[in-house]
């Protein structure tokens, strides 16, 4: 197996953590048995009318996004030769997620006046994913990803193996 760049591993780890966070938020969104409402921790954000789009909790959409990013990460790990298209898609999804998270954070701060810690965690994670994917994409497009990481030479050597 050829060496994969470290940023790809980081992207997979971030997507995994993001999936866990969004999974937790989704479980909370579907749990109507909430029985305590403490100061600064009241599911205020999750119970706001902004927390759903057409009856679908935003947390569930977030979970879907992280799972797609995770799938893209694993796909690149397996099929590195498809990296250009897959990284471009991952960066696009992470950008959409970051923009939407920025809007949600704005709502939390200036409209709902409440902060949901796990929502902020998710916003930070998706921003980190955007940075990682953006950086990875720039390396791939500049074509120096393989030189620095040795990923492509690995792939090349595999191709060369049958020759002798």
């Amino acid at each position: 197996m050829s060496v994969r760049p470290r940023w790809l591993l980081l992207s997979i780890v971030l997507s995994l953590v993001g999936s866990a966070v969004a999974g937790y938020l989704t479980a909370v969104a579907f749990d109507d048995a909430l029985l305590v409402c403490g100061i600064g921790d009241c599911s205020t954000v999750q119970n706001s009318p902004y927390a759903k789009i057409g009856g679908i909790p935003i947390a569930l959409l977030g979970l879907g996004m992280y799972l797609v990013l995770l799938a893209l990460g694993i796909a690149r790990w397996r099929w590195w030769q498809q990296r250009e298209f897959l990284t471009s898609a991952a960066a696009g999804i992470a950008l959409a997620g970051t923009l939407y998270s920025a809007y949600l954070t704005y709502l939390e701060l200036f409209v709902i006046h409440a902060i949901c810690q796990w929502c902020v965690t998710s916003a930070i994670l998706v921003t980190a994913l955007l940075l990682v994917e953006g950086w990875g994409l720039s390396r791939i497009l500049r074509g120096d990803a393989h030189r620095a990481t040795g990923a492509s030479p690995g792939a090349r050597s595999r191709r060369q193996q049958p020759a002798p």
Partner: protein, 253 residues
């Protein structure tokens, strides 16, 4: 000889030059195509991402603006038992339970709609418990306004009806569920004298009462809602209905 000797190198040089320039052209062409390709891999996802996020934001705004019409819940469960002001049940019941709540709190609404009917049926209607509701308005300005409005309803003898209607019309927090205009609409469906209610709310008749009630709750140690106290116990929160009923059972003679 000399010409023939000179010519081939000349022709060779020319073809070499041509080949070089052709190679350079091809190289340039390839570079141009690579640039375009690179641009495609950046511009397409950026454009799609901006469009997707824009649609998401637009849908969110639209769904938030659709604040549900004010509804009147069934309040017969409250009016069928003795009630006086903030107290529900037999005034001589052996167990006195205080509930602290915030009308914007989703947990309070959840408690009210899922568990309170059981408490009402098993303990309040049977004369075992006297239930008192107190305000711990802490989530935001609309919490305080809703609590003041409930006080205004209390003045008109319809505290519990208004109390139930507030929870039934909770649409989210600090998003206009309990704006003054919506509180008036709730007063109307509850059947209050709306003019009296409006002036009571506008003049802040019960502003100090609510503030004092919240301060008192704080000094008793209330930090979250709903909190309960059974026969003067320290306030506690629950994670299931049994947490509350067991305390009530213990307090029963």
């Amino acid at each position: 000889m000399s010409t023939s000797r000179e010519l081939p190198p000349k022709a060779g040089m020319r073809t070499e030059k041509e080949r070089l320039s052709r190679r350079a052209q091809r190289k340039l062409e390839a570079e141009r195509r690579a640039r375009q390709r690179r641009l495609l891999f950046i511009i397409v996802p950026v454009v799609l991402a901006v469009i997707a996020a824009g649609i998401g934001i637009w849908l969110s705004q639209r769904s938030a603006e659709q604040v549900a019409a004010v509804q009147m819940p069934d309040v017969s469960k409250y009016t069928s038992v003795p009630h006086d002001g903030r107290i529900l049940g037999d005034p001589n019941a052996p167990v006195h339970v205080i509930e602290w709540g915030d009308y914007q709190c989703p947990a309070c609404r959840s408690f009210e709609q899922r568990f309170f009917p059981t408490i009402l049926e098993q303990y309040i209607a049977t004369g075992k418990v006297r239930w008192e509701f107190r305000d711990f308005a802490f989530i935001g300005p609309e919490s305080t306004r809703a609590a003041e409005a409930a006080y205004c309803a209390l003045d008109q003898g319809k505290f519990w009806e208004f109390h139930a209607a507030l929870y039934a019309n909770q649409t989210g927090e600090n998003v206009g569920s309990f704006s003054d205009r919506r509180l008036e609409e709730i007063a109307r469906v509850v059947g209050l004298d709306v003019d009296a209610f409006r002036s009571c709310l506008r003049d802040g008749t019960h502003k100090d009462d609510v503030q004092q009630m919240v301060r008192e709750a704080q000094s008793l140690g209330v930090r979250a809602t709903p909190s309960f106290s059974v026969n003067g116990s320290a306030p506690f929160t629950i994670s299931s209905l049994a947490d509350l009923t067991s305390r009530i059972e213990e307090a029963l003679p």
